[in-house]
């Protein structure tokens, strides 16, 4: 019985650690997804002069989850008649929980909404490019950080489990 308890505690703490490590590893992946989505949006705006609801529809088709859900909600909101900046801000609030991104990431992503659709394509390109550059920087930093953190959490979970067992015994 004691043995089963020990194994359960170690396994429980270990899987919690692995789950946290997995979430940490997802951050750079999601930032990369965001970069790709913004690049697609940029292309649609600059080369296609595609109106935003349609452009969001195209980006939605070409990105993976969770960005797919994000752009699907944006498209729906715009089709309902919401303005792009409000829709972008509101969508961040409702979709945040589906992502593993940090608050600082959302601040940069939130900047996209500020001038979205309100100027000519050249200005739009400039704004999107600026945000893309910032996200690319964050992605590189997040890559290094997440490797270390993920490794730490995957060990730490099991170690905490073992420590708990030792204390309890």
């Amino acid at each position: 019985m004691l043995l089963i308890g020990c194994v359960a505690l170690i396994a429980g703490c270990g899987s919690l650690g692995l789950w946290l490590a997995h979430r940490i590893k997802l951050r750079p992946v999601e930032l990369r997804g965001c970069l790709m989505a913004l690049a697609l949006l940029d292309t649609e705006i600059v080369w296609g002069a595609t109106p935003l609801p349609e452009a969001f529809g195209i980006v939605k088709e070409r990105t993976d989850r969770p960005w797919q859900g994000y752009f699907a909600e944006l498209q729906e909101r715009l089709q309902r008649g919401e303005s792009a900046s409000i829709a972008w801000k509101e969508t961040i609030l409702t979709q945040k929980n589906n992502f593993c991104l940090k608050e600082e990431d959302w601040q940069v992503i939130g900047d996209v909404g500020k001038g979205l659709g309100r100027s000519d394509s050249r200005e739009q390109h400039k704004q999107l490019e600026l945000v893309q550059r910032q996200i690319a920087l964050m992605k590189d930093q997040a890559g290094l950080w997440s490797d270390k953190q993920a490794k730490m959490w995957s060990y730490l979970g099991f170690l905490c489990g073992i420590a708990g067992v030792l204390i309890l015994i």
Binding site: I45, A49, L78, E82, D120
Partner: protein, 354 residues
């Protein structure tokens, strides 16, 4: 040439597309059934911000079918224009005197413009430079404001001060009255120019003529002809994401959003039309392109702003076309007995009134 011009072909009746069929019938009904008015008003209201939307939603006693324009001017009363009078609306959507009407504020116009462009000002960039945007369904919205000029060329409009929503109409059968006069002795369609002052039904008549030419009229022995439409302002076909709102006939190809001058060359080369139709000639480039298209053997059908032949001759671009005797028929329209009143059809070769 930009890549975003969409080359769209109106498909024949065998191809089943649910959306256009529904839309065609809506457009047809819109001119006939008065009980549709609240639905049509609600449909129009979605293009405006909260305040104006609630006013339009509550409009009573103004049938949508009678309305030609909805005008918003900063600091001026909200106005709806029918064929014979100007109606001012108050906050409750009731017709009132100008002093008691709802006065539009800059936010109303900014919000309307944002909704009309789907929050995508960049997509309407080229249109805005010419002072208008086109809504899905072919309704055109005139825009005035402060022009931003760089090196003598208009870049865009800012601080929008006026919006004029012009409601597009589809009245069928009007063209049938004059079409026999536009057919030459050899049975071919003559090069035709429709002229009128604004709001006299040029575009409506042009749309009707395109559909008749495209489908053919067996009654007068006219076979269906391939018609290429260069729809620079997106008004003729009311194209929305490649799907036309208006029925322009079985044999019509529409080049949407493309400048007339380059569009004419494109459509002649790519779709081999027998008739090329376009709206509102006025630019010198259009004239050069028409002269070029004439050498390919296509027939030209177009419209221009002018209230009489004399006025048309005073416009340098049109005068050049007249001098070269490009057009064989001239149709003059007016609003004498309501929009679309045909003042006369002239044979420009002989100068006779037909």
């Amino acid at each position: 040439m930009s890549l975003h011009y969409t080359l769209s072909v109106i498909k024949g009746p065998k191809v089943t597309i649910p959306i256009p069929k529904r839309k065609f019938s809506e457009a047809e009904e819109s001119t006939s059934s008065p009980d549709k008015s609240p639905v049509l008003w609600t449909d129009m209201a979605r293009w405006f911000g909260e305040d104006i939307r609630s006013i339009i939603d509550n409009i009573k006693g103004v049938p949508f079918q009678d309305v030609e324009e909805i005008r918003l001017r900063v600091g001026q009363p909200l106005m709806v224009r029918t064929s014979d009078q100007d109606l001012f609306l108050n906050r409750d959507g009731e017709v009132t005197s100008p002093e008691k009407a709802y006065f539009a504020i800059p936010e109303d116009l900014a919000c309307a413009l944002e909704r009309m462009t789907h929050s995508s000002l960049y997509a309407a960039e080229e249109d805005l430079k010419q002072g208008f945007i086109t809504l899905p369904g072919g309704n055109r919205v005139g825009v005035t404001g402060e022009a931003v000029v760089v090196q003598g060329k208009i870049q865009t409009l800012k601080h929008v001060s006026g919006l004029n929503v012009r409601i597009a109409r589809e009245i069928k059968g009007q063209g049938l009255k004059i079409l026999p006069l536009l057919i030459g002795t050899d049975g071919r369609f003559c090069h035709t120019l429709l002229i009128s002052p604004p709001r006299a039904g040029k575009t409506t008549l042009l749309r009707d003529l395109i559909r008749l030419l495209s489908n053919g009229v067996p009654k007068i022995g006219l076979n269906g002809q391939t018609v290429g439409v260069v729809d620079e302002r997106g008004e003729l076909a009311g194209m929305w994401q490649g799907v036309p709102t208006y029925n322009l006939g079985y044999r019509t190809d529409v080049l949407d959003g493309c400048p007339k001058a380059s569009g004419m060359n494109m459509i002649v080369r790519s779709m081999a039309p027998q008739v090329v139709a376009m709206d509102e000639l006025g630019h010198t480039d259009d004239v050069t392109a028409i002269m070029d298209a004439l050498r390919t053997g296509v027939r030209i059908l177009s419209t221009a702003h002018a209230s009489s032949l004399e006025e048309a001759l005073n416009r340098p671009t049109l005068a050049r076309l007249m001098e070269q005797r490009v057009f064989e028929r001239l149709v003059v329209l007016s609003r004498k007995h309501g929009p679309g009143t045909i003042e006369g059809v002239y044979d420009l070769k002989t100068g006779r009134v037909l």
